[in-house]
Amino acid sequence: MDYHAPTTLDAAVDILAGASGDCRVLAGGTDLLVRMRSDMAHPDAVVDIKRIASLRTITEEDGGWRIGAAVCGAEMGEHAGLRAAWPGVVEAAQLIGSTQVQGRATIVGNLCNASPAADSVPAMVAAGALARIAGPEGIRDVPVEEVPTGPGKTSLGHGELVASIFLPDRAERSGDAYLRFIPRTEMDIAVAGCGVSLTLDEDGGIIRARVALGAVGPGVMVVAEAGRMLAGSHLREGGLQQLATICSAAARPITDKRGTEHYRTHIAGVLARRAAVIAYARAGGTLE
């Protein structure tokens, strides 16, 4: 195996584009090194992107936040500005693994590992995040939900990598939240997860809502119907019940060792209503 540690994004793209064999991007390594260790990946080369200065920063941009692909979860949690703007995205990122894993794991890695249960992904999707993809043809920005295409698969072409995530300018009176269910309190993989992002008007009415589910389908799911239902509502009890029903109906889980199809379908709705309540409070709304 070859180890590359380029110091510019262009150099990283050149290496990836020029590679003939299996060439992998190494960010935090918390998935890739486990795969290599478990004999599930045998790369011919890895491209360590942590020496690329521009990918190591969290920067304010057009009122939003750009998070470089080499920024680890712990760094996101320590960033007061990012935490204040997008608490749901940060809490989702920080649910991944232990303190030690937080010191390495990145949300871009979480996205590109393309696990249906990736915790940070529903939160990013709810936030309307864009992935900036760098490749031989240049730079393009795509909604994060277009990056994973199925378990372990992404839409990235040859020579491409995700360089950063952009969380857009957050309107006044907005809030987001992410909740997942696991059978224990820490260090587990989601049985189901839900990200909710809301924007309110001055009277506490919801004017914009995005809801995304994780671990209940082959990939992250945007529940557009839930967003449409919430918009114009005040998140009263009837609406919350309706939200839960819509999200459970949208869920397409499998039965595996983490949970049954029936249970996951139910819990997707429960998580949606609870996450919506948290997002609503963070947006400054008061539940009646």
């Binding site: 390594g29 090194l33 478990s38 303190t99």
Partner: protein
Amino acid sequence: MSKLHVTTTVNGEVQEFLCEAEETLLDVLRDRLGLTGSKEGCGTGDCGACSVTVDGRLICSCLMLGAEAEGREIETIEGMAEGETLHPLQRKFIDMAALQCGICTPGILVAAKSLLERNPDPTEEEARYWLAGNLCRCTGYDKIIRAVLETAADMREAS
């Protein structure tokens, strides 16, 4: 395939080594630098027995390549005591019998030291969450948590 030449700092001393690209930092520490205090429990980042800090950040050395260590500052369990003088956490773990077989102990001490450097007055919940990635199959964790919290109290008093 020629080996990679890496220069890094381990416990304050500059170290140079040659390694294969696939080798983890844990492999390098144990097999090339003779620092066998860091243990391999799972090799997949679940148990924390290989915990070290890199540029002050707590990580699992089994989930980092040795080649990535170039120019970094690494701290391992071997750097915790000052000569014959044990770190207060090490002393307390012995006094309170916060270990049994000892395999997890280096990783837990490195992780606990990192916690107390960031948060000299952790709550029990904070200590338990911080150490959630360090598995111990002997103690049931209670003695470990109590030893960490008592050390924190002692260190606050001493400072």
